[in-house]
């Protein structure tokens, strides 16, 4: 199944990846090959197979509802480029 140029551009946009116009044909080619490879699974008989959500045959362990984390804001914010009054500052995004 060949992807279109538009689909590749949309995927890049959703992933917030910037690719230049002359890179697009290369991605169309290689991503289409990946999809063709995976598409071999379409030939497998799966009617009676339950969809798998996780490769491990285990179930989710649950934690007790208790507060175990202390406030480490000062430490965590040493990693941020800009903070003010305890808030992380980011370029303005507004709906």
């Amino acid at each position: 199944m060949a992807l279109t140029r538009h689909e590749v551009e949309n995927i890049a946009h959703l992933a917030r990846l910037r690719i230049s116009a002359d890179e697009v044909p290369g991605y169309v080619e290689s991503l289409s090959r990946i999809i063709d490879f995976v598409a071999q699974l379409d030939d497998a008989e799966t009617d009676k197979v339950e969809p798998m959500a996780h490769p491990l045959h285990m179930t989710q362990p649950l934690r007790v509802d208790a507060v175990t984390e202390e406030n480490q804001r000062e430490l965590f914010q040493t990693n941020a480029s800009r903070t003010e009054r305890g808030l992380y500052l980011v370029p303005k995004v507004i709906e």
């Binding site: 949309n10 959500a53 649950l62």
Partner: protein, 477 residues
Amino acid sequence: MTWEVVIGLEIHAQLKTASKIFSGAATAFGAEPNTQACLVDLGYPGVLPVLNREAVRMAVRFGLASHSTVAPRSIFARKNYFYPDLPKGYQISQYELPVVHDGWVDITLDDGAVKRVGITRAHLEEDAGKSLHEDFHGLSGIDLNRAGTPLLEIVSEPDLRSAREAVAYMKLIHQLVRYLDICDGNMQEGSLRCDANVSVRPLGRHEFGTRAEIKNLNSFRFIERAINFEVERQIDIIESGGSVVQETRLYDSARDETRPMRSKEEANDYRYFPDPDLLPVEIDRATVDEIRAELPELPWEKQDRLVSDYGLSAYDASLLSASRAMADYFEAVASRVGDKKVAANWVMGDLSGALNKDGIGIEASPVSAEALAGMLCRIEDGTISGKIAKSVFEAMWAGEGSADAIIEARGLKQITDSGAIQAVIQQVLADNPGQLEQYRSGKDKLFGFFVGQVMKATRGQANPAEVNKLLKEMLNG
């Protein structure tokens, strides 16, 4: 053309857990920014989410109370989108196999009719953080305290047919989650909020019209106004030859209108897939049975019982069962007095009025149920009249002590001694010879004037029945 309105609600209820859905950070409201955001909430590399048992149990409580199926196996999925208050770049939610599905609740409409509303599903997910857009030199401030707070998203079938029905349904869910003690229901703080999917179609047509989704409605009034605005807008578009566009809109309460959100070209392209960090959640039969056994009396059960146990009307019972605390208070009063209807009237009337005026909940009432019952007993045994009781209640509200102490201190005890009342009447008749003359020559309606004068002279303390009886005798004598 007659139009039919079709509405479905997606209600987000913040669950009342102490810690977050996937981390051990606290969920308390109003903390200093980012002091309740740990490495998991911040989306640091290498961390793993671990599911909170209590969040799952709360979802099951809701599922059982809403006649839904509790899925023996459910799956968490990643919902991918970029926004600064979502540090991981995806929200952990449930998509294909939600924890709760296929239920219903009954709502009571304005005309008293009962309507069944289907619940498509209720799934667990994490809340996002908060973005503050003002006052940061052109930047946005991000507070991630709320990130990772457990949410139960309750999705209704498109069964609602008017804004009023949507509000009635929202109110029922609000009442239910509080009864179940899974959400504090504080809409101002965003603990309970909803998105409304609204469309219109010509009455009688089977297919749905194109819908718009109105985001983030956080009060009953806004839900009603936003839906009514949106319905008018869609009808206007169609009647003037246009067609409704499927889009997400925001309600602006200041302007009372909805308007489209921007940058939605990639809307609904969330690329859900099962979260590899979380294993399937299995809920066994025994756990479901255990949770079922712990369910409290539900709002509609309580309402029915108030009718059968106390002889209340369905309407009074619905008001008194609005919250568990209200119903508990009423029952504590009613169990101590003879006349249950009087108890109901006082709780719904003077008490609720005083609570509203002071802006406090019934849990914080300065007059306890025992104290109110103590006063009602003094009405029942004739110590005070219902009218005097109102001022006794006000004094109790102001913290002046028990009804008995106030009646004693203020000398409010009702005058039932006929000799004393006769003496007052004698004086009133002597002071008003003109009116007495007119009454005796046939002006019957002056009787009320004399009652008023006697009550005034006794500062309202004379027993009204006794006054009526003696006054009649003496006027005619």
